[in-house]
C-alpha cells in the first residue's frame, strides 16, 4: 500500500516536469560523501561556464542551455538512477566524473544513443571510436597519464630508469587499476621495477601502504587517488619524509584540496595535468562579471580559478564547442544527442579557437576522429608551490608513448568488441 502511494505521488511529480526545447546538459555531480571536496569545484566550473554562455551570449547558437544537476555521491546505483531520471529530458551528453559510473553507463548510453564524455578518466580503450561509438575520452586518458609520468622520470634520470623502483599507490577500484597494464608495459621498456600498493575505498586507511614505502624505499611514487584518499596519502608521505618531488599524482590527485591539508611540507609535490592552471585568462573577467557578481554562480561561488574548477570549465568548454560543431554540421540550433555525437566526433580544438574563447594557451590542440576518440595524449607536469599556494606548470606539453599505448588500446577494445558482439568499423 505504502509503495503504491509513494509511486503514485512520485509519478505525479515526474509528470509535472515540463519538456523544454533547450540544449539540455546533465551535470551528474557529487557534492556529498568522501569525494565531495573534489566533486564540488569541478561541478561549479562545469555549470558556471554554461551560465556564462547563457548570460553573455544568450546560449549556444541562440539556443539557451539548461543544466540539470543530479547528485550521485560517486555511488554507482545513484549514478544509474540519475542517468535514467534525466535522459528523458533530452540530455545531450553525460560527464559522470566517475570511472565506476562510466562503466555502468557505457552500454546503456550506447543503446540509448547518448554520448558520454569521460574526460581524462573512464574506460581508456574507449579511445578506439570504432568500437566505442558513443564514448569519448579526449584530450587524454589514464594510459597517457601513466606514460607521461614515466617519460618525465626518464628525462629526469638522463634517459634511463634501469634499476629504479617505482611504486604505484592506487585506489583499489577500476579507476586505480587502469594504469597498471601500461606501467607494466613501460617497465619492460625502461627497466624499472614496479611495486603495487592498493588502497581501499574511500582511502582513509593507508598506514600499511606507507609503511611498505618506508621499508622498500621506492625511488618514485605514483598515485592514482581521488577525494579523501589524496589528502591522506600526501599527509602520510609527509609523515614518512618521502621526498615530495619524487611523488607524482595523476591529474585527479593534484588539486589544492589535496595538498593544503599537509601544509608547508607538501611543497614540491607533483601532479600531471592536461590543461593549464591558475586564473590568468581573459575568460575569468567575464565569469566574474556575468556569473559571480551577478549572483548566478553554482555552489558557494568560492572555487573560481582552482585546478578542478578549471577542469570543470574546460570540460564544459569542450562540450559547448562540440555543440557548436554539431549545430554547424546539421544546420540546426536545437540539436539531438545523435547530432551531438557527430559534433563530438568532428571536434577540433585549435589554439586560435581557444584564444577566441578567452582561454589562450589553456590546453593542447587536438582533433577528434572516428578512429580516435581520445585525442593525442598531450599533458604536462605541475608542481605545488606551498608558499604561493598554487600549482605551477614545470614542463611543456609533451606526448605520451604511443608505441606502448596504441597496441594496448587495440587489444582491450578488441576484447570488449568480442565480448559484446560489436562489429568494429567507422
Amino acid at each position: 500500500m505504502k509503495q503504491k502511494l509513494l509511486t503514485a505521488i512520485a509519478a505525479t511529480m515526474m509528470a509535472a516536469s515540463p519538456a523544454l526545447a533547450d540544449l539540455v546538459i546533465v551535470d551528474t555531480s557529487y557534492r556529498t560523501g568522501p569525494y565531495a571536496a573534489n566533486g564540488i569545484p569541478f561541478s561549479d566550473g562545469y555549470q558556471d561556464y554554461f551560465t556564462l554562455l547563457n548570460e553573455r551570449d544568450g546560449g549556444i547558437g541562440g539556443e539557451a542551455v539548461r543544466v540539470v544537476e543530479c547528485e550521485t555521491g560517486y555511488n554507482t546505483e545513484k549514478g544509474v538512477e540519475c542517468y535514467e531520471a534525466t535522459k528523458g529530458e533530452g540530455a545531450l551528453v553525460y560527464q559522470p566524473l566517475s570511472t565506476g559510473i562510466t562503466y555502468q553507463l557505457i552500454p546503456k548510453a550506447t543503446a540509448d544513443g547518448i554520448p558520454l564524455h569521460t574526460m581524462g578518466y573512464g574506460r581508456t580503450s574507449a579511445k578506439n571510436g570504432e568500437v566505442f561509438k558513443y564514448v569519448f575520452n579526449y584530450p587524454a586518458n589514464y594510459w597517457d597519464g601513466a606514460s607521461l609520468a614515466i617519460t618525465h622520470l626518464v628525462e629526469q634520470n638522463g634517459g634511463s630508469l634501469d634499476g629504479k623502483k617505482v611504486a604505484l599507490v592506487y585506489h583499489n577500484s577500476a579507476y586505480g587499476k587502469e594504469p597498471i597494464r601500461t606501467l607494466e608495459g613501460l617497465a619492460e621498456k625502461h627497466g624499472y621495477e614496479l611495486m603495487l600498493l592498493p588502497v581501499d575505498h574511500p582511502g582513509q586507511e593507508q598506514k600499511s601502504q606507507w609503511l611498505q614505502v618506508r621499508q622498500q624505499k621506492p625511488d618514485y611514487v605514483l598515485m592514482w587517488g581521488w577525494g579523501v584518499m589524496n589528502q591522506v596519502a600526501i599527509q602520510e608521505a609527509v609523515n614518512i619524509r618521502f621526498p615530495m618531488e619524487n611523488f607524482i599524482g595523476i591529474w585527479w590527485s593534484g588539486s589544492e584540496n589535496d595538498v593544503k591539508a599537509a601544509g608547508e611540507k607538501a611543497n614540491g609535490y607533483k601532479a600531471l595535468t592536461f590543461h593549464n592552471l591558475g586564473s590568468d585568462y581573459p575568460i575569468y573577467a567575464d565569469i566574474q562579471k556575468y556569473v559571480v557578481d551577478a549572483g548566478n554562480a553554482a555552489g558557494a561561488g568560492d572555487q573560481v580559478g582552482t585546478v578542478l574548477y578549471n577542469r570543470g570549465m574546460y570540460a564544459a568548454m569542450l562540450a559547448a564547442e562540440a555543440i557548436k560543431t554539431a549545430q554547424e554540421m546539421h544546420g540546426t540550433a536545437d540539436i539531438t544527442s545523435q547530432q551531438m555525437r557527430d559534433g563530438m566526433e568532428n571536434l577540433e580544438i585549435t589554439e586560435a579557437k581557444m584564444a577566441g574563447l578567452g582561454l589562450p594557451n589553456f590546453g593542447p590542440e587536438f582533433k577528434v576522429s572516428c578512429q580516435n576518440h581520445g585525442g593525442n595524449g598531450f599533458g604536462a607536469v605541475s608542481q605545488w608551490d606551498a608558499a604561493a599556494g598554487e600549482f605551477k606548470l614545470i614542463t611543456e606539453y609533451y606526448q605520451s608513448d604511443q608505441d606502448v599505448i596504441q597496441p594496448l588500446v587495440a587489444e582491450d577494445s578488441a576484447a570488449f568488441a568480442a565480448e559484446n558482439g560489436i562489429e568494429a568499423g567507422c
Binding site: Q3, N75, V80, G100, P107, T110, S173, E178, R181
Partner: protein, 358 residues
C-alpha cells in the same frame, strides 16, 4: 470498515495455517499479483524499472534471505554484502564459462554456490552467538570483498577488475545487457521474487521454520526437545545464503550490468539489508518487503519531491535525505520496535475488531 469480521473463525487446520487467513487479504494479494504480472509490465519504462522496481525486488530477496537468518534463526549476520558478491561473481563466472546455458539456471546455481560459502562462514555459529557471531560474519564481508578484488581469476583478468554482464536471453528475449527491455528485466526479477517469497513463507511456517525459531528463542531448550542445533543453524545459513546469492546475482546481472566489488558490495550494503530487516520486522516475510520498500523508495521519493518538485539544491537534498531517513528509522523503532510488519498487523487487528479494539 474494510475488514468485515471480528476475529478469526477457523474450523479446520487448513484454514488455520493459511498464509492469508483473512479472505479479504487473500483476494487483495491475488489482485496484487495479477497487477504485478499482467498490468505493470505494459506500463513500465526505463526509469521506473531502474530506479524503483528492480532495486525493490532485488533487495526484497536479499532481505528475505537475511530475515531467515537473523529474524527466524537468531544468527546475527553482517556479511550480506560479501555473500551478495559471491552470488554476483558466481553468476559472472558461470555466464562467461557456459554461455549456452540459460541465464535462469546460472542465477539459481549462483544461489547454490553462495549457500555453500555461507554455510562455511556459518560454521563458527555452532560455537559463538550474538555479537561475537556478528563479528565473525563481518570478517566474511571483508575477506570476500578482498578476495574478489585480489584474485584475477574471478574477474577473468580484466584490466579494470570490473565484471560486466554479457547479453543473455530467456525465450529469445534479452534479460541482461544494454538491450534489455524494461518489462523483461522487471518480469525476470519478479518471478524470482515471488517464488522466493513463496518458498520462504512455506519453509518458515513448516517444521524447518519452527526449528529455526526454537533455536532463536532458546537454543538449549530447543536441543532438549530434539532440535539438532547443527542442522538447524547450518540449514538457516544455507537457505539464507541461497536467497542472498540470488539477489546478488540479479543485482549484478540484471540491475547494474557491471560491478566493482569494493563499492557495490561493501560493508554499507550489509548494513542496508540489515536495516531493511530490522525496520521491516524481524521474522516476517511481509516485513522484508516492507523494509526493502521503505529504504529503497524513500530516498528516491524524497529526491523527486525536494529536487524535482521544490527545486532545492542537490547537495542540500542529499544531506536532508540522510537526516530524514535517519530520523524516520529512529522514530519507527521507538514507536514500533518490531517494525513495519508489526505496525501493519496491529492496524489490521484494530480494523477487524472495529469499533471496539482491545
Amino acid at each position: 470498515m474494510i475488514y468485515r469480521e471480528s476475529g478469526d473463525f477457523s474450523t479446520t487446520y487448513q484454514q488455520d495455517s493459511q498464509t492469508f487467513p483473512i479472505k479479504f487479504d487473500r483476494y487483495r494479494y491475488y489482485v496484487l499479483l495479477v497487477l504485478a504480472f499482467a498490468v505493470v509490465p505494459f506500463v513500465i519504462n526505463d526509469y521506473w524499472v531502474n530506479a524503483v522496481f528492480l532495486p525493490f525486488l532485488i533487495y526484497s530477496i536479499a532481505a528475505i534471505g537475511l530475515n531467515i537468518l537473523v529474524g527466524y534463526c537468531g544468527q546475527v549476520s553482517l556479511g550480506t554484502g560479501g555473500f551478495m558478491a559471491v552470488g554476483a561473481y558466481a553468476c559472472y563466472k558461470l555466464m562467461t564459462a557456459f554461455p549456452d546455458v540459460n541465464i535462469f539456471f546460472h542465477i539459481i546455481l549462483s544461489g547454490g554456490i553462495t549457500a555453500f560459502v555461507c554455510v562455511l562462514f556459518g560454521l563458527p555459529s555452532l560455537r559463538i552467538k550474538g555479537f561475537y557471531l556478528a563479528v565473525a560474519t563481518l570478517a566474511a564481508q571483508f575477506f570476500l570483498v578482498w578476495m574478489f578484488n585480489r584474485i584475477g581469476w574471478f574477474y577473468n583478468y580484466s584490466a579494470s577488475g570490473q565484471i560486466n554482464a554479457p547479453e543473455r536471453t530467456v525465450f529469445g528475449v534479452p534479460v541482461t545487457g544494454a538491450e534489455t527491455a524494461p518489462w523483461a528485466a522487471y518480469l525476470f526479477c519478479l518471478v524470482f521474487t515471488v517464488v522466493c517469497a513463496l518458498v520462504a513463507r512455506n519453509m518458515t511456517r513448516g517444521m524447518q521454520g519452527r526449528q529455526w525459531m526454537a533455536i532463536r528463542d532458546m537454543d538449549i531448550a530447543a536441543e532438549i526437545i530434539g532440535v539438532n542445533p547443527l542442522r538447524a543453524k547450518l540449514s538457516a545459513f544455507a537457505v539464507s545464503g541461497f536467497f542472498v546469492g540470488l539477489s546478488g546475482a540479479l543485482f549484478f546481472a540484471v540491475y547494474l550490468g557491471a560491478v566493482e566489488v569494493g563499492e557495490v558490495f561493501g560493508i554499507s550494503k550489509s548494513f542496508l539489508v540489515l536495516f531493511m530487516v530490522i525496520i521491516g520486522g524481524l521474522g516476517s516475510i511481509f516485513g522484508s518487503f516492507a523494509g526493502a520498500a521503505f529504504l529503497v523508495l524513500l530516498p528516491v521519493f524524497l529526491k523527486n519531491v525536494l529536487v524535482g518538485g521544490l527545486g532545492w539544491p542537490t547537495d542540500l537534498v542529499e544531506h536532508m535525505q540522510f537526516m530524514i531517513v535517519g530520523a524516520m528509522i529512529i522514530i519507527f523503532l521507538i514507536l514500533e520496535p518490531h517494525g513495519l510488519a508489526q505496525l501493519w498487523r496491529v492496524a489490521k487487528e484494530k480494523l477487524r475488531l472495529w469499533p471496539f479494539p482491545h
